[in-house]
Amino acid sequence: MTAVTATDAPAQAPTAPKRSRRVREITGLAGWTVLGWVVGIAFFLPILWMFLTAFKPESSAETWPPKFTFSPTLAEFRLVFSGSTPVGPFIEHSAIATVGSTILVLVLALPASYALSIRPVGKWRDSLFFFISTKMLPIVAAIGPLYVIALKTHLLDSIWLLIILYAAMNLPLAIWMIRSFMLEVPTEMLEAARLDGAGRFREIGEVIMPVVSPGLVSTALICVIFAWNELFLALNLTVTNAATMPMFLISSVPQEGLYIAHLSAAATVASVPVILVGWIAQRSLVRGLSMGAIK
């Protein structure tokens, strides 16, 4: 008896479980799809709300219940760009500080990463950990004296100061990240180049740079994100000549009156560039954020 059922079972088995597995797979897929989208939209909701509110007339932005249908207007964006405090100079300051500091970071980090990976200095490990330890020192602890230093060196409220400080802020991250890309240069390629009699500069230009340059782009993008979003130093060390985008946002909240739509438009203008950069850099975001630890 037992022998019979044992031989019977496999003959029938393939069809029934197969179908139920298919069904399970499809319901699973549907379930995860629904859950995934609900969670994704929930996370995105405040940003979506910011976008929507930015296109509302001010009177529709502060209502109860909140309005989901309204006739969209660009009025608040127009105010952001050509109101009493136009955003132009702030964007300009932010762009100069961001691009300037990122270029400085790359100029400093590229040779440093080389000296910590391809032709390493003796104590490369100590240097690496020195760089990362500066990330742990809270800059806020020195903000008062930093203010005094800036005052005495006539760098207060100057974009140069922001460029210098943002470069120092992003340099450790860039060195760790670029180094992780340099370690990927195959040793055989380096040796082959050396056997060919390639000098150091040809080695860098022809062997290392082609491998590393995509990494440089993602490193730059991550530096851009952090520099563009920085508020603390800008708030303490700039007033008008170098005031950046986050400070424009603060100025868009008035002491009185309706401001929610205006604020949303300003916040949208401030955030969209970095959101786009982040979406483009998505693939390498995790590598940069983990300082090159995760590929």
Binding site: P46, W49, V121, L146, A168, I260, V286
Partner: protein
């Protein structure tokens, strides 16, 4: 495939600086020097100046320079109950934000590791909060999201009996944490997701064949595998979040009272409202000393996470 890379592993054997001449040594050092000197000057010098001013009486709005103050600034810092409470608040707010962000981050990573329709888009939606300018996020949460009269959150929670709650006055501390968690969960998600995608599938398959249930597999196989990734996320998240300032400044301004005054905001107030460079410097020095103590542990963890020991 994502792997936790052996970042601090020594470069290939043939390139190691063994028995190199003095001239060669300097040739190797040369490319490193600009970055090294730059970092020392820009990041270390301000702390030396801070040390100097911590022993000075100096108010930047008053004429006349700094005068020697002895240890009076330190006395003030240590006897100021606001300093201690700000310090403690910084520790708890960072810990809570990191723990919640990591817990939710793990859940989201598990979700994003499943196959479903539109996964790429959902992943993009989930990482976006991290990209939003923190100042913008803080102001959007404070106004359109959390306002007691017209805020979206009160509207969404109305069916659950929530009635026009003034979140930033009644739950200021929690509101700040919510925004921190919202912004940093994507960071944790990405790091844990990289860990999940680097997990070998065959051992999971084998466990499934043995009839282990999903939770047991997650607990016994996946979590231990994720451990270095979780440690890395917690460590890096703490480094950034302990300096949280934007949300405090823009959502609650440290209040009500001092209920959301964290250490960075405390020092900011000393400089900007009390004009007290000496006092802020002393508070800064104490902060740095505490940070160095914590950071020395953190660096050790860092070294381990990056498999530093093994590389030696």
């Amino acid at each position: 495939m994502a792997v936790l890379e052996d970042v601090t592993s020594p470069p290939a054997a043939g390139l190691r600086p063994r028995g190199v001449s003095g001239r060669e040594k300097w040739q190797r050092r040369l490319p490193l020097l600009p970055a090294l000197i730059y970092t020392i000057v820009v990041t270390q010098v301000p702390f030396l100046v801070t040390l100097y001013y911590s022993f000075q009486n100096y108010f930047w709005n008053e004429p006349g320079g700094a005068t020697w103050a002895g240890i009076s600034n330190y006395k003030e810092v240590f006897t100021d109950p606001n300093f201690r409470s700000a310090l403690w608040r910084s520790v708890t707010i960072t810990a809570l934000a990191v723990i919640f962000a990591m817990a939710i981050g793990i859940a989201l990573a598990v979700l994003l590791d499943k196959k479903f329709i539109g996964r790429g888009i959902v992943r993009t939606l989930i990482i976006t909060p991290f990209l939003v300018m923190p100042a913008a996020a803080a102001l959007i949460w404070a106004g359109p999201m959390l306002d007691p009269n017209f805020g979206l959150l009160n509207y969404l929670l109305e069916p659950f009996g929530v009635n026009h709650v003034a979140w930033l006055t009644t739950h200021a501390y929690g509101s700040i944490i919510v925004v921190m968690v919202w912004q940093w969960t994507p960071f944790m998600t990405l790091i844990v997701l990289a860990g999940l995608q680097g997990q070998a599938q065959d051992s999971l398959e084998a466990a499934r064949m043995d009839g282990a249930n999903a939770w047991a597999i997650f607990r016994e196989l996946t979590l231990p595998h994720l451990r270095p990734y979780i440690e890395l996320g917690v460590l890096l998240g703490s480094i950034y979040l302990v300096n949280v300032f934007d949300q405090v400044r823009l959502m609650t301004n440290g209040g009500p009272g001092t209920s959301t005054t964290t250490l960075p905001f405390y020092i900011y107030q000393k400089v900007n409202y009390a004009f007290d460079i000496g006092g802020s410097a002393a508070a800064g020095v104490v902060t740095v000393v505490l940070t160095i103590i914590v950071a020395s542990f953190a660096l050790r963890l860092f070294a381990r996470v990056f498999q530093f020991e093994e590389a030696q």
